[in-house]
Symmetry: C2
Subunit: 480 residues, 2 copies
């Protein structure tokens, strides 16, 4: 490839040469059905941890630690269910080198052939240069990708340009139980000298252009409980003579956001960081179109038609979604119930500079004010269920610049700088606890179907991804 | 009792004398756990039918027929599940006498000791002159009550004053499957000569005053389906950039009825029969208070404070209740889903002179108009799921007058003339198919807990009820 810098030619050639071995390694990883959300498969999740340990040993890792996290806290169906361990390892401990911590997860989402997979989800299957299998892209592909990068260096007799710490967890698809605590514990121990954290666990925006991700929205999840009668009532006997909680609730929920997605709760817009010209320009080059959105939703329900509007409302403006109602009738068919107590659930995606506490005050006040207007004899209680902060990094810092150069060296194109609408809470934990920059460096494409049937990673993404990870370490190691 | 008319003294004395036997008969009936909604107990339901058949034989019934209804239609878990039969019998066939058809059901609601019963639900237990047991009031008490009335006449050597046809079904608690069809079939056969139909399967309004019931509201059940994205979406990725069906739906549902229970769909009020002075006066003597309502709902959620307002809005005005939403998140906890398709469910209780077709047109038009205002790219489809007509009778006709006199003869007080907010569809079927007046003549009290734990019938209601049924037959037989 003409754009490959001279210095990387031997390394990239070695990676190409090892391609069959790399695919074989991913195949072995995929073959272990380590679904963290399925308690009956917990031993398979643990087995995956030990598979990684063996691979790390073969690659010459030092100080491999299998960090046990104890019993899974309730609710849990299996008595005494152990959490899968976190696997730590270290490659190099040279004080003259920078230290990069790479994080990935070895557990996967559930997958059954009968869900509609075209091939067995736990048998990595290559068709037309695409590798199909559960975890191929989320997140076994990237985890094995790091190991491949190390192996390529080893085979070539090339020293790693940085000290590398690997952190592989097995509960990411089930709430990352125990991980925050471990990061806190090891911040001054195993992770004492970490200069940068890189997470490869998201996706390109589309299918053709590599990206680096520098922002995530946060999420504040709320519930509104309205209760009236002491127990559910029959609408024949009581319809028309009692105040119905569900009637109050739909009226409250109807005041939250308009059909165009504009949040109707006053005071939130004012908290959003103004869009600067510089930030706005970041969107100019990004490859995206309303067609991509409509294709992803398989519908014609886009609220915006222009690329900038769509991406900015996905990444840098807050949004409010109503998720459902607990306590009301939800089955198919007809039931003439007046629910006695209903709980509406909605969440707000947060962005700079919304403060969670301020937001919650605005939300609760809004709901209580709207409820007062209804003059209902029912009782209301609105509350925050949980919150997770937004994350934003400087896409021009040393870490991102190294990844950008690496991308260009491999793909011959500058990556798009993207944000994501969802949250990856661990990003914030690493940043806060280790006090370092975090980079999100995805390998897979936007259509990989991470949590869906027929999850895949393109062979080119997998192999060029190994090159990108390798080149990134070099650029970062030498200070670009 | 001083108010007992001379003519009934021997009959009532006989009924008092037979009290232990009547309680024993009810005990036997209650001991068979014929829960029609529990497929595993279907054989017990059938057993109850044959128990009744044996009792009818002992009492000298003629032409007893066990009407098989074939297989229960889907959905059903048990393959080849037979419906419980309808038990028909006849006492007398004298062309010079009037013929009264009495209907009751021998199946019951589910009941488990661990649901919170103080005594075994299938062992009729007397405590402080109250008989506790599943079916004691709904509807084995009244069914056995008719048999007791027949027995009292037989023991006394007293001829029944009318020809009596008994119709006992075993699927009332599960939709009365097969009953409508059987009534149609037998309208010109077994039920050829029926002058009046009497159903004892509802309750006094309160706990102290007997009632006769002359009206029922109908019900039209609607659903509003709104669909947008092709499949459920993650609110992190898509929140703020797609039109969310659930957001549209809560806005539509919020336009249906106000917090005071006033239906906001235009044109419905105009269809409601005006309240005449005569009808309004029927409410004057009824024993009821807002305290009764608040006690029944175990809350302070009454929309009206005056007796008349409450009862008229329960019985003679329409009401609209929102029941729930299918397709949205409904479990405890938090889920950040944007549901792709949601179906709101609500129903309208109908009253004279609302026409179901006209109502449906108003409802669908209203919903479609409100949806147009939202300018949403989602798709809406509002439809009627099912409807059942209201029923109203003349509370001063021959049948009601006979029952009113009977009540006075037993209780020394004129019964309250009530309606009910719910529907008993079979009432309409009898009226339409047989072309006769129908009377609802309840035995139990408003606090009997028909579908609840610790269902009961007071011994006085049970025994005085047998007297009332007996006296009613006499008054009706002789044309009052």
């Amino acid at each position: 490839m003409s754009h490959t810098p001279e210095e990387f030619k031997p390394l990239f050639a070695k990676i190409d040469e090892l391609k069959p071995k790399f695919i074989e390694r991913l195949k072995k990883a995929v073959s272990i059905p380590g679904v963290s959300g399925d308690e009956s498969l917990r031993s398979e999740v643990v087995k995956t941890a030990y598979f990684l340990k063996d691979e790390l040993i073969k690659l010459g890792a030092q100080d491999i630690q299998i960090k046990e996290l104890g019993l899974q806290p309730p609710p849990v169906s299996t008595k005494g269910l152990e959490l899968p361990p976190i696997v730590l390892s270290r490659f190099g401990n040279d004080p003259s080198k920078k230290t990069v911590l790479v994080y990935g997860h070895y557990d996967v989402q559930p997958a059954l052939l009968e869900d509609g997979w075209d091939t067995d989800p736990f048998t990595l299957t290559e068709k037309n240069n695409v590798l199909y299998g559960r975890g191929a892209s989320d997140d076994k592909g990237p985890v094995i990708g790091w190991l491949n990068a190390i192996e390529a260096h080893k085979e070539l007799g090339l020293e790693l340009p940085v000290n590398l710490i690997t952190v592989f967890e097995g509960m990411e698809e089930s709430g990352s139980l125990g991980l925050d605590e471990l990061i806190r514990q090891e911040a001054k121990n195993y992770f004492k000298v970490v200069d940068a954290v890189t997470i490869s666990d998201n996706y390109w925006l589309g299918t053709t252009k590599p990206v680096l991700t520098y922002g995530l929205r946060g999420v504040n999840y709320y519930q509104v409980e309205i209760k009236g009668p002491g127990s559910d009532l029959h609408s024949g006997l009581f319809g028309g003579i009692v105040a119905e909680p569900l009637n109050d609730l739909v009226k409250i929920l109807a005041t939250l956001v308009d059909t165009n997605g504009q949040i109707l709760i006053k005071g939130i817009d004012e908290q959003v960081a103004p869009l600067t010209k510089e930030e706005d320009e970041l969107y100019n080059d990004i490859e995206y179109d309303v067609k991509d959105l409509n294709q992803a939703t398989n519908s014609d329900t886009a609220l915006y038609q222009s690329k900038k509007d769509i991406l900015q409302h996905r990444w840098r403006y807050p949004s409010l979604s109503i998720h459902g109602i607990e306590g009301a009738f939800y089955e198919p068919g007809a039931k003439t119930v007046i629910p006695a107590k209903v709980i509406g659930k909605f969440s707000i995606r947060t962005v700079p500079n919304i403060s969670s506490d301020d937001l919650t005050k605005l939300v609760i006040d809004h709901i209580n004010n709207e409820f007062v207007k209804l003059k209902s004899p029912n009782k209301i209680n609105a509350s925050l269920i949980h919150d997770g902060d937004y994350w934003i990094s400087n896409p021009h810092n040393e870490n991102f610049t190294a990844a950008s150069k690496a991308t260009e060296a491999v793909w011959g194109i500058k990556p798009d700088l993207t944000r994501e609408g969802g949250s990856i809470p661990i990003t914030l934990t690493f940043e806060k606890e280790l006090g370092t920059d975090v980079l999100l460096l995805p390998l897979g494409r936007g259509d990989d179907g991470a949590h869906s049937t027929n999850e895949k990673i393109d062979v080119s993404n997998y192999i060029e991804g190994v090159k990108t990870l390798s080149a990134y370490l070099h650029y970062y190691g030498k200070g670009n």
